[in-house]
């Protein structure tokens, strides 16, 4: 009986601690004016977004920033949008390079603060079609600055047959790449199946891969179940896919341009393309935590990372289209912006930027759509 009472006491303490943590901020206002730097800034980023010359001495847009502002950049790389959300909830970080499937959740959760754009002079040069979008602002209030965009590319081994141009090779059981296919291991990948269905089963009436009603969603899961038998690898760590591409144990996969670049740098015989059916993609946003301990440095970082020089550096290294229009003149490869279609609106027409699916259909239909938590559950079950 005594031990029971002890257990109860411990439980009560636990509940108290948890409820204290779970209270949540209601998103305090944006920074009013820029003060002196705090000496450091803790950022969560995608691999390849924070390069200080340690990966490649020629690739460095951090050292100069640190010397100029006195803000030491502490980078934490996240492997998925979900991980970014989880890390931001800890309140230990000042800024994050969030993709569209994380931003809405961060805004709704009060984990990020609105951004005072007056304090970020470089924002003026950002492409107009990236500003004030569903995934980076709310009711006309900006919650971050656009970083860059890209498509999730189809990577293939150039010796494994004719170059594929269709997403079908990823999904159909008779794919010539069966057994050597590499799939991105995240719930948001369900949208790739939806893109495939948009092309192959128009009867389903999918108009936006992030806006799926139950029937459409079930069809996407069925496509993924079929795909399972031909998948050789589900990758969550980008280095895993890179290693497999280099070893040749993967010959087709959904990839990021940076992985392709890194593997090609190690003599992998691969190329990448955007499937003709279209692709999922990302438009990332730098956001500031509502609990930032180094807000001034965070603002300086935001302004720096979208400055023409740094933005050109990131865009070229990561393999994405820059967000700053002036970046295009500064890339080492003069054709970078052309290659990545930075200014070509028609290219982006069939790129579906990662967005958080919600119960209210994103395409405006008057039915109930499957919300993201269900995507997560379905993906977990698929992978279990």
């Amino acid at each position: 009986m005594k031990s029971m009472r002890k257990l109860l006491a411990i439980s009560a303490i636990g509940v108290l601690i948890l409820s204290a943590c779970g209270g949540g901020d209601d998103g305090s206002g944006a920074l009013e004016e820029l003060g002196d730097g705090e000496g450091a800034v803790n950022v969560i980023a995608w691999a390849g977004y924070i390069e200080d010359g340690s990966t490649d001495p020629a690739v460095d847009w951090v050292t100069g920033f640190e010397a100029e502002t006195g803000c030491e950049v502490n980078a934490k790389y996240a492997n998925s949008s979900d991980e970014m959300v989880e890390l931001m909830q800890s309140g230990e970080y000042d800024a994050v390079s969030a993709s569209g499937d994380a931003t809405l959740r961060l805004i709704a959760g009060g984990d990020v603060a609105p951004v005072n754009l007056d304090l970020i002079p470089n924002y003026a040069d950002v492409f107009a079609d990236l500003k004030d979008k569903l995934w980076n602002s709310k009711d006309g209030v900006a919650y971050g600055v656009p970083h860059g965009r890209g498509a999730n590319v189809l990577v293939y081994n150039t010796e494994a047959g004719a170059a594929p141009d269709s997403i079908k090779a990823m999904f159909e059981a008779d794919s010539p790449y069966a057994g050597k296919i590499s799939v991105y291991d995240a719930p948001i990948y369900i949208a790739d199946a939806a893109v495939y269905l948009m092309a192959t089963q128009p009867d389903l009436g999918i108009t936006n891969p992030y806006s799926l009603d139950q029937t459409q969603f079930d069809a996407a899961i069925a496509a993924l179940e079929t795909q399972k038998s031909i998948v050789g690898q589900y990758w969550a760590l980008y280095t895993d896919q890179q290693a497999s591409l280099e070893a040749g144990s993967v010959t087709l996969g959904t990839s990021w341009q940076i992985i392709v670049n890194l593997a090609k740098g190690n003599a992998a015989k691969i190329e990448a393309t955007k499937p003709k059916e279209g692709a999922t993609g990302w438009s990332d946003t730098w956001m500031v935590s509502s609990k930032a301990k180094h807000p001034n440095c965070a603002y300086m970082w935001l302004n720096h990372i979208i400055s023409p020089q740094a933005n050109a550096g990131v865009a070229e290294w990561f393999g994405e289209a820059p967000s700053n229009a002036k970046s295009c003149d500064l890339t080492a490869d003069a054709n970078h912006c052309a290659n990545f279609h930075a200014t070509d609106a028609s290219y982006w027409g069939d790129v579906w930027y990662w967005t958080t699916p919600t119960a209210e259909c994103l395409d405006g239909r008057d039915v109930e759509c499957v919300p993201y938590t269900e995507w997560v559950n379905a993906w977990n079950k698929l992978r279990a």
Binding site: E86, Q89, G248, L382, R383
Partner: protein, 294 residues
């Protein structure tokens, strides 16, 4: 300097005069640690399995629900995965046992005394390397490659590799945790009195009979103790699976997925599986005497 020594001396004297107070001071630190870090975190974990998730933001609320437990206990995909995890952990444990028994016997009973220490150190050597180093080393060993690229060590030397999957996971886990099985078994052999073996042979038992009828029964507690380590470490592992598992998933991976979703309550509910399995396992092992001579 001397004042520190004086204070120390005075406090030792005080403690020796009041043994209970001394003991209390000595144990209060570890006890607090045990309560807060061990019991406290476990209690928090179990409680949070009952919390409801705020769907969109992925934050736990303090509203209570049974739906997490229900999902974890009834969903067939998850149950299959739990069973597979048990299978993998059992297989890794069996391999560790099959290797540790003859090796432990040899080193303890047959090896020359000068060679003993070196051999024991050699068996424990894997403990000196980092976990990730070992896992990635084995990744390089198992890499299947293809006609489009070079495979790893196995492929290049014997022309065959199991590739990434169950077999690679089981072998890697067995390699990782082998020392934890070896050590208790070796100590078990060391503790066997020579006189018993002499008596056995005096009574006419051959070496095989002696091994199975005299040594093995006395070794059961050591084997049980070793298996607790290898089984629990394998059951809870999720990093090895990621590195050499290909498409294989274990219960730890699902916990990580749920945690990162972020769905902390569901992750907590999943952890009840390994906790429950280990409670049962420890119960069985305790029966076999695993804790009698730890």
């Amino acid at each position: 300097m001397s004042s520190v020594a004086n204070t120390l001396r005075r406090s030792t004297r005080f403690a020796s005069k009041h043994p209970r107070v001394g003991l209390g001071i000595l144990l209060s630190g570890p006890l607090l640690w045990l309560l807060v870090v061990y019991v406290g975190s476990l209690a928090l974990l179990i409680i949070s399995a009952f919390f409801k998730l705020q769907e969109f933001t992925g934050k736990a609320t303090t509203e209570l629900t049974l739906s997490n437990l229900d999902e974890v206990a009834t969903e067939s995909a998850y149950l299959m995965m739990v069973l597979r995890s048990i299978g993998i952990a059992t297989a890794a444990t069996a391999i560790c046992f099959a290797l540790a028994l003859p090796v432990g016997f040899y080193i303890s009973k047959l090896a020359k005394s000068w060679a003993k220490r070196g051999l024991v150190v050699a068996m424990l050597l894997p403990l000196w390397a980092g976990y990730l180093v070992k896992a990635f080393a084995l990744r390089a060993v198992f890499e299947p490659g293809s006609e489009f690229g070079n495979g790893g060590f196995l492929k290049n030397t014997i022309g065959w590799s199991p590739g990434f999957g169950y077999l690679a996971v089981i072998i890697t886990l067995a390699y990782m945790w082998f020392p934890y099985m070896f050590l208790p078994i070796y100590t078990g052999f060391e503790r066997l009195p020579e006189s018993l073996l002499d008596a056995s042979s005096d009574l006419g038992a051959g070496s095989i009979r002696t091994f199975f009828s005299v040594m093995m029964p006395m070794l059961v507690p050591s084997i049980a103790a070793g298996s607790i380590f290898t089984f629990s470490l394998s059951l809870g592992d999720y990093i090895t699976v990621k590195i050499v598992g290909g498409t294989v998933q274990m219960v730890g991976n699902i916990i990580e997925r749920a945690l990162l979703a972020p769905n902390q309550p569901l992750a907590a509910a999943f952890t009840l599986w390994p906790i429950g399995i280990m409670v049962v396992y420890l119960g069985v092992m305790a029966r076999l005497g695993a804790f009698k001579n730890l």
